[in-house]
């Protein structure tokens, strides 16, 4: 899993990269080596160290941190993180698939316009977007104000809906942040789908629902899998959205890790161990998924 700075892209083409290849790869390899591989090595080293009373890292070998990771408290947090990230992934799939499908089957000119629309939120900083949601959801915010104006709730002061600092707000924030990462890969696979296959299914007696279940869904599955990966992995480690929109009511692994690196009770070695464990989890699940895919196509 160590991202070795090798020329994988070139070697898969079936030839050794050669001098020019290495020269072209050098900037990227240097970058990856300095800022990905080296920090990972440091992280791994930290995770086997200890901390002193002041929170400084003490280079004394110990597996104590990993034992702590499997403490019930942290396992429960890990469990709820998986739950929230999973829920986010599923919701992104449900919301994103129809959008991606519509985009992928639209005429080419409209496709590029829709793609733009999906990308527009990225023009604003992630933090600004999250704060925008907060102004919408807070008790005297936009949503409650609208509901009051529409006389759906009686009074801004006596009965506003409590939306901020709830699991709902966290999931909403996560879905909002990661939706494009679900839409884009699904769009890619829908766009590649040969329209005559859909016609063939209809011709053979499959109505719209069964055409979707038997033909469209299986053929766009790789896009869904890629999207799920792109949403699930960062969601589980997300701390900003949970911090800002969940208050301290929703605690996810990302927040725990963050707390180990800053603040009063910091414990860098333990934070490192949590991080390494999370990475190992992703690596194993990815390898399992890849193997099952290989078995199926065989």
């Amino acid at each position: 899993m160590t991202p070795m700075p090798t020329a994988t892209g070139l070697t898969t083409a079936g030839r050794p990269p050669g001098v020019a290849g290495w020269a072209l790869m050098a900037p990227l390899a240097t970058w990856l080596g300095l800022f990905v591989a080296a920090p990972l090595v440091i992280l791994l080293a930290y995770s086997f160290c200890q901390r002193d009373a002041l929170g400084q890292v003490v280079p004394a070998f110990s597996t104590h941190n990993y034992a702590r990771v499997f403490d019930v408290v942290y396992l429960r947090i890990l469990g709820s993180s998986i739950f929230y990230a999973g829920l986010t992934t599923i919701l992104c799939g449900i919301v994103g698939y129809p959008v991606a499908y519509y985009m992928g089957r639209a005429p080419p000119r409209r496709q590029s316009r829709l793609l733009m629309l999906v990308m527009i939120p990225f023009w604003a900083s992630f933090l600004i977007r999250t704060y925008a949601w907060m102004t919408i959801l807070k008790e005297n915010g936009l949503l409650n104000g609208l509901l009051y104006a529409a006389r759906i709730i009686p009074d801004v002061l006596s009965g506003p809906m409590h939306l901020m600092y709830t699991p709902f707000a966290v999931v909403l924030g996560l879905v909002y942040s990661y939706l494009p990462f679900m839409i884009l890969p699904i769009y890619g696979s829908v766009e590649r789908l040969d329209g005559s296959l859909i016609e063939a299914a209809a011709d053979l007696g499959a109505g719209p629902l069964r055409t979707f279940g038997r033909v469209i869904l299986p053929l766009t599955w790789p896009g869904i899998a890629a999207g799920a990966m792109l949403v699930f992995v960062p969601s589980i480690g997300m701390f900003a959205v949970t911090d800002l929109m969940g208050g301290n009511r929703v605690l996810m692994v990302g927040n725990v890790i963050q707390n180990q690196f800053q603040g009063a009770g910091r414990d860098k070695p333990f934070g490192a161990a949590l991080g390494v464990t999370l990475m190992a989890l992703f690596a194993v699940s990815y390898l399992l998924a890849a193997r099952s895919r290989r078995d199926r196509t065989r």
């Binding site: 005559s196 016609e199 063939a200 209809a202 053979l204 033909v215 053929l219």
Partner: protein, 365 residues
């Protein structure tokens, strides 16, 4: 079995199909033949249900199906690209239609197995489409449609992607298959040879309407319009004007230099001009031995030409002939006969056209 009544299809301003009436009999092999963009595929797609007519009705087996979606119509289509499901193997591809109709499992298995054998794909049931050759994919597409035992099988240029040799073999095979299963075939192609080999009847389509529909030999020997004569097989097309019309015979001046006498009954009453069409294989050639000018003058329906070009076409030789005034004609003779008769490039030959072989077309058509 299939009937189109007053069918019209417009895409925006463009009229793809213009007021077509068409009847296809039970068990018939009908070909829709025409150049690309003539509307033949749109016509087919209105039978399968992928397009809805702007006007007119589509009938299947005595039922108005104009408003029915494709999955409720008892027809199946073989797509030009085959449209095999890439995630399913050969067996599951063929079984797809039966499963959609909720056919009992044992029945599905049996019918699929029989169909696999019929199209000669035994032993390949577990392969995916990308592990098959073009010809094999073609067979799977055919089997997948036929196993549903549709009332009508629609084929959209199914042989276009195959190489010439395989295409010829599949033409014969497809025709045999159709005769064996007795299902009505509506076949779309732009390849006139294919249409001639396979069809019972041909409908020649041009610019959204049917130019002519009829049995193969009639379309070939008695084309009704210049378009049909030109599109189906090779044809020499020359303008003619009436020189003298008598009760039984009319004398025509063809291309301002060739005199032809034809039975007056072949010419519409009162026509002063016409087009003459004749097939290259109907041009009879005699080596011009001596006294050419006298002969051409006295022999009826004969004239002198020069061989301008000689093309070797395998079983036949194609000769390009040029008359003294520069009119060009094509003649086809069995391979070798040109050599035997010692006719070569630059030689003068005597052409003879029998009135029976002449197709007289209205000047307006």
């Amino acid at each position: 079995m299939v009937e189109l009544i007053g069918v019209n299809k417009q895409f925006g301003e463009f009229v793809a199909v213009d007021d077509v009436n068409l009847q296809v009999g039970s068990g018939e092999f009908l070909t829709l033949l025409g150049p690309s963009g003539c509307g033949k595929t749109t016509l087919l797609r209105m039978i399968s249900g992928f397009e809805t007519p702007t006007r007119g009705t589509v009938w299947l087996d005595g039922r108005d199906v104009t408003a029915l979606p494709p999955y409720r119509r008892d027809v199946n289509q073989v797509f030009q690209s085959y449209a095999l499901f890439p995630h399913l193997n050969v067996r599951d591809n063929i079984a797809f239609g039966l499963r959609m109709k909720r056919t009992p499992k044992a029945d599905v298995q049996q019918r699929v197995a029989r169909m696999v054998e019929m199209v000669g794909l035994s032993g390949m049931e577990n392969r995916r489409p990308n592990q098959l050759s073009g010809g094999q994919r073609q067979r799977v597409a055919l089997a997948r449609a036929l196993v549903c035992e549709p009332k009508v099988l629609l084929l959209d240029e199914p042989l276009a992607a195959l190489d010439a040799k395989l295409r010829r073999a599949m033409q014969v095979e497809l025709k045999r298959l159709q005769q064996r299963v007795g299902i009505t075939f509506v076949f779309v192609t732009h390849d006139q040879d294919e249409a001639l080999v396979m069809s019972d009847r041909i409908a020649v389509i041009n610019r959204g309407h049917i130019e002519q529909i009829g049995p193969v030999s009639e379309i070939y020997h008695r084309p009704a319009t210049r378009f049909v004569a030109d599109f189906l097989g090779q044809a020499n097309l020359l303008p003619a004007r009436v020189v003298q019309r008598e009760t039984f015979e009319t004398e025509l001046m063809v291309a301002d230099e060739i005199r032809e006498r034809i039975p007056s009954s072949r010419l519409p009453d009162g026509a002063s001009t016409a087009f003459l069409a004749f097939r290259p294989e109907k041009v009879r050639l005699v080596p011009d031995v001596a006294k050419p000018d006298d002969r051409s003058a006295c022999e009826p329906n004969s004239f002198i030409t020069t061989i301008a070009e000689e093309l070797f076409r395998g079983a036949t030789d194609q000769l390009l002939l040029r008359t003294p005034k520069g009119t060009e004609l094509t003649a086809v003779v069995p391979n070798g006969s040109a050599t035997v008769l010692a006719m070569h490039r630059g030689d003068r030959v005597l052409c003879h056209l029998h009135p029976d072989d002449l197709i007289v077309l209205n000047a307006g058509q």
